[in-house]
């Protein structure tokens, strides 16, 4: 392969056959736009994946169920990383697509499950509809040259309007087929994920559901790495860094932003659909301002311009939130605020990049770092 493989130092600890093998297998996912390109990183990646697979065997049902919930929300954070961290579109309303995905899943699944017993199509619809909606909103914004913080306000307004509208749907008159929207109280008894067609049905109980979302996360992580390290990824980053310059190179930045925004909408919709099926419930506050701020906070704390930042930011802060709530102290919320402040003041680019650069410093402090890089370039 002629693709560039800038490997990080540290390879001298490993047998060269392992280094070569890992380099070759993961080459499509390596590049300067992501953190962690060394064989050591990929070994760590495989280890973490193994731990994730073994997790249900060593923990409690509550933890499995809860961790599934955390992972479900990660897709929302990832959607924001793609469009904001990599493309520079500051959306404050990804929850609009999340909520739409969740409600779409609920409506379609409740109707479909009576016919086929499965929810395959519901999941598909819950990805497609938000993506289409994102195209509409995105077209409205980008082809009107709206950018920067103005995008944040439009997307925020969109999610708040959806929250208001769905909150209004109380009563039997707001029923779509077998699905009552339920107003502010929310839609209940949403079916869990089930694949196949009667009589061959695979219903995703807690543990299979956990494996499903974790598998999806690993696939999504690799796919995102592939995209941002491809030529297309470079264009996205070019748009983020300087729109005018990118446009002068002949790119239609409106179209590029629209594409990224649509993919982001689809991912947020997927997140919402997984949430609704995992939770068997969805209600309008998932589109409110408090939830809308969550992905922004996760991604900023984790590190906006890295995929791992979104993952660990979302995972870490949700865990923290839950444990603090369980502690039940009136100071829990205060503690969360203090922690957020501390992280922002101490890590200016987010936690994950800070840790990564510290690890790099530790491993790669040898003077021949540049040599290694040049060699692998050759």
């Amino acid at each position: 392969m002629s693709e560039k493989k800038p490997t990080l130092p540290g390879n001298e600890f490993l047998p060269s056959i392992v280094v070569d093998g890992l380099d070759r297998v993961f080459a499509p996912f390596n590049g300067p736009n992501t953190i962690g390109n060394s064989p050591i990183f990929w070994i760590a990646f495989l280890l973490v994946a193994l731990v994730a697979l073994a997790y249900p065997a060593v923990t409690t049902p509550f933890r499995v169920l809860n961790t599934t919930g955390y992972v479900v929300w990660i897709f929302l954070a990832l959607s924001l990383t793609l469009i904001w961290g990599y493309t520079g579109i500051f959306s404050f309303g990804q929850t609009a697509f999340f909520g739409l995905g969740g409600y779409t899943f609920g409506v379609v699944a409740k109707n479909l499950v009576q016919v086929t017993g499965a929810t395959n199509l519901a999941l598909l619809a819950a990805v497609v509809l938000p993506a289409v909606f994102a195209v509409v909103v995105g077209y409205f914004m980008f082809y009107g040259r709206v950018s920067g913080v103005y995008v944040a306000i439009i997307t925020l307004a969109v999610t708040l309007i959806l929250e208001l509208l769905f909150g209004r749907t109380a009563g039997p008159q707001y029923t779509i087929g077998a699905a009552e929207l339920g107003g502010f109280n929310g839609m209940t008894n949403i079916p869990s994920l089930a694949f196949g067609i009667e009589p061959v049905l695979v219903e995703l109980d807690p543990v299979p559901m956990y494996y499903f979302v974790v598998g999806l996360l690993i696939a999504g992580y690799l796919a995102l790495r592939y995209v941002v390290n491809s030529n297309y990824g470079y264009v996205l980053i070019a748009v983020r860094e300087n729109e005018a310059r990118t446009e002068m190179f002949g790119y239609d930045i409106r179209k590029i932003k629209l594409q990224a925004f649509a993919i982001g909408g689809a991912m947020a919709g997927l997140s919402g659909a997984l949430f609704a099926s995992w939770n068997n419930f969805i209600s309008p506050p998932v589109m409110g301002i408090v939830t809308a701020a969550l992905p922004v906070i996760w991604v900023t704390v984790g590190g906006r311009q890295t995929i791992l930042g979104a993952i660990f930011g979302a995972l870490g802060l949700q865990f923290l939130d839950s444990e603090l709530a369980a502690a039940g102290s009136e100071f829990s919320v205060v503690a969360l605020g203090v922690i957020l402040l501390g992280v922002i003041l101490y890590f200016s680019d987010g936690v994950v990049p800070a840790i990564a650069s510290r690890i790099e410093d530790r491993i790669g402090s040898s003077p021949d770092e540049s040599v290694v890089l040049e060699e692998s370039d050759a």
């Binding site: 923990t59 409690t60 339920g182 929310g186 109980d205 209600s283 369980a326 502690a327």
Partner: protein, 439 residues
């Protein structure tokens, strides 16, 4: 008691779905680990103590309580949390339940449905509580309901709500508008006239309560001449006040909720709108007569199952115990009272059942329990799992003092009984779970 206990003989496996079975068996299998993890994760509830226990076999009885102490519902959740502590302390002072110590596990759901769900899962699966208590809004209850029914968890909901829950696992100790409305509307129509303007919070509770108002006003020969629904985050009520002035009703039915709606009263007063008002929402839960400056609530009429001012000896005793324990209390509201009643009902049922096994406790609860409370003698309806209430009709004075006009005793949850019969059609392992939204 005296229930058909055939669920014990029936084959569990055919009735429970596979997901539930997974949770139950898996929960049994890894309890030790569970306790270990809970300890590691800094879970500060002191549940290390009951970590070795499981279900009903442990020494201590654990009660999971979800009363929000932060966020917008802290106003209701704080009195609930106080009541929970008071009730548990009193149980333990009297030697515990069945001679066993009672432990309160009380995470803060922060007025957020997501946190409610997560903490409910934690209480049910991880802490394996013997009973779950709490929740304020219907949204919070509905959010927890899938987890509650999936894990067959006995649960008490204390708040005033729109009515309609019919669920084998849930007991509801707060009032519903269908119980409060009748004496109130009768009095208002007789005293002030037949033309009514309804203002209500723009979500399920307000919308359904408004339907009740319409029905009762119609029954009394009155008419709703105007109706307006106000979103929960609107705090400027100028347009509503204009519209009411335009319509010029005889009196106003106020079904507004939450801190953004409370300023309606002072805004109406300063706009010169002086109509008599009736409410099944104000006063008894958010104690507007104390937080709003007089005389904005003058000539407000209200009907509640409980108010702190109820002038009975039993209530004086309850209030003094409560205030001695929590001297900084602003007001002891319906939520605080009904939550306390939930605990007392549970205590009674466990003592009578002689066990904390949930199906057996539920059987006792479904046997037509009566309980004497600060608000008189109440009974738990076996068919609907709702309490009958004594409804106190009261008038707010110019200085915002409460003047009781009348008491209607033993108002039963009749509307729901027409379609909900948990006592005959539902068992612990073959439960009914519905939520009727049409009035």
């Amino acid at each position: 008691m005296g229930r058909d206990n055939s669920w014990r003989n029936a084959s569990d496996a055919t009735l429970t779905n596979s997901r539930r079975r997974f949770l139950k068996t898996a929960a049994g299998g890894s309890v030790g680990l569970s306790a270990m993890l809970a300890g590691c994760s800094g879970n500060g509830n002191g549940n290390g103590g009951n970590g070795g226990g499981n279900g009903g076999d442990s020494e201590t009885i654990t009660i999971g309580d979800l009363s929000p102490r932060s966020g917008p519902n802290a106003l209701y959740g704080t009195p609930m949390h106080n009541s929970a502590q008071l009730a548990v302390e009193e149980m333990n002072e009297n030697g515990g339940l069945l001679g066993r110590e009672v432990e309160l596990v009380d995470p803060d759901p922060q007025s957020d449905t997501g946190v409610y769900q997560e903490q409910a899962r934690r209480l049910i699966l991880e802490d394996q509580v013997d009973v779950l208590m709490g929740g304020v809004t219907s949204a919070s209850r509905e959010a927890m309901r899938p987890t509650i029914s999936e894990n067959q968890q006995l649960y008490f909901y204390p708040a005033l709500y729109e009515g309609g829950v019919c669920d084998e696992y849930i007991h509801l100790t707060g009032p519903t508008p269908s119980q409060q409305m009748l004496p109130l509307v009768q009095y208002m129509v007789e005293e002030f006239g037949t033309e009514v303007y309804t203002i209500a919070a723009d979500y399920n509770f307000g919308q359904i309560s408004a339907r009740w108002a319409e029905r009762y006003v119609g029954n009394e020969g009155g008419e709703i001449i105007g109706e307006e629904f106000i979103p929960l985050d609107v705090s400027d009520h100028g347009s509503t006040i204009n519209n009411i002035q335009d319509a010029d009703p005889d009196w106003i039915m106020s079904l507004i909720v939450g801190s953004n709606h409370v300023p309606f009263y002072s805004q109406a007063e300063s706009s010169g709108l002086n109509k008599p008002m009736a409410s099944t929402v104000s006063i008894g839960s958010a104690y507007e007569h104390i937080t709003v400056d007089p005389p904005a609530l003058e000539s407000m009429y209200t009907a509640w199952n409980y108010m702190e001012e109820i002038p009975t000896d039993a209530n004086e005793d309850f209030v003094s115990r409560y205030r001695e324990r929590f001297p900084e209390t602003e007001y002891l509201n319906q939520h605080g009272f009904s939550h306390y009643v939930s605990y007392k009902l549970y205590e009674m049922a466990v003592e009578e059942a002689g066990t904390v096994e949930m199906p057996e406790v539920n059987d006792v609860l479904e046997s037509g329990l009566s309980i004497s409370t600060a608000a008189g003698e109440l009974s738990l309806d076996p068919a609907t799992h709702h309490l009958s209430h004594n409804i106190y009709l009261a008038e707010v004075g110019e200085d915002h003092s409460i003047n009781f006009l009348d008491t209607t005793e033993n108002v039963e949850p009749e509307w729901l009984r027409e379609r909900c019969s948990l006592d005959t059609e539902s068992t612990w392992d073959d439960p009914t779970s519905e939520f009727f939204t049409d009035v």
